[in-house]
Subunit: 207 residues, 2 copies
Amino acid sequence: MNIPSKLIQDAVTEFSKLPGIGKKTALRLVLHLLKQPEESAEQFGAAIVKMRKEIKYCKNCHNISDAEQCGICTNPARDKSLVCVVENIRDIMAIENTNQFRGTYHVLGGVISPLDGIGPEQLNISSLISRVEKKEVSEIIMAISPTMEGDTTIFYVSKQLAEKPVNITTIARGVAFGGELEYTDELTLARSIASRMPYENYLIRKK
Amino acid sequence: MNIPSKLIQDAVTEFSKLPGIGKKTALRLVLHLLKQPEESAEQFGAAIVKMRKEIKYCKNCHNISDAEQCGICTNPARDKSLVCVVENIRDIMAIENTNQFRGTYHVLGGVISPLDGIGPEQLNISSLISRVEKKEVSEIIMAISPTMEGDTTIFYVSKQLAEKPVNITTIARGVAFGGELEYTDELTLARSIASRMPYENYLIRKK
């Protein structure tokens, strides 16, 4: 595409670096910003720069936070002995939206993926181990995506914590509520039969 | 969605003001920027603010431009007597990409749409008329979307220019190359039969 202005070209290039945004969408967004009053564009740019510059990560669980510790870690109603280990902060938001979990979190920052150059040392695993070593934690729930990389990560973390006095659990895998057996993939279906549970438990959990 | 940081919340709000970007996509983009080095986010913000602040519009045709007149208006190889009237600069880019048009442009900045509060005075129509009055223009090609608002705009502009020594044409409407008759809407099909053309012309134009 032949863009007649270097300023627009630069802004389009920046937008198209974002995930899922191609050249055409980027141009549409830039032309939209161009139509807005100058203050709107300034506010947009400033919000992003400020966010990136001033954002803090909770020193305890690596969740994003405006203070040194996040609102979940400082909340006295939260059970500090129960830690849910997730890949990223979006997973925290998803779990928080269920309004069911009353423990705390630990953000790994990704999963082990040698192909992408992500090894255990790039993830927040050592800080998880030191949380366990402080003997504050009695159970760790691994809420990691059921992919090969996710399973590798769970395996690695469980190995690291094998000698420590902590229970390691994973979230249940199975056929989703509302999902139809017919359209469920073989692996999930096979696993959900293998890890079947007493009907009474089912009734309790569905409540 | 419960976002645990006001900084992130602000950035998400800004992103979700953009067309076609909802809360979830906005959050994904913000978290992506958060993972980038600080300079990237700064560069992103700066490119947008700079673009909005420093952009100029060609004083002749209202195309975007880094100088007082755009590259098309200042190009001596362009035919100044032929003016293609378009809604916005994206249309210029689309026509330029065909590499077929050697005239100049005039950007209206939209179409007449009373429902959206856009009347003729909000569009660059008076500057088009003064271009015609300078007797530089012999033909005006109306390359406006074939919607009701577009047709209204063409009608209004042609009325304004009725007394002036200028030919007004519109781009051809018809079945697109590669389009199937079966799936063409009735209006287009009916119009393309009404404005049929000699086969010899078809052969020339297809070359």
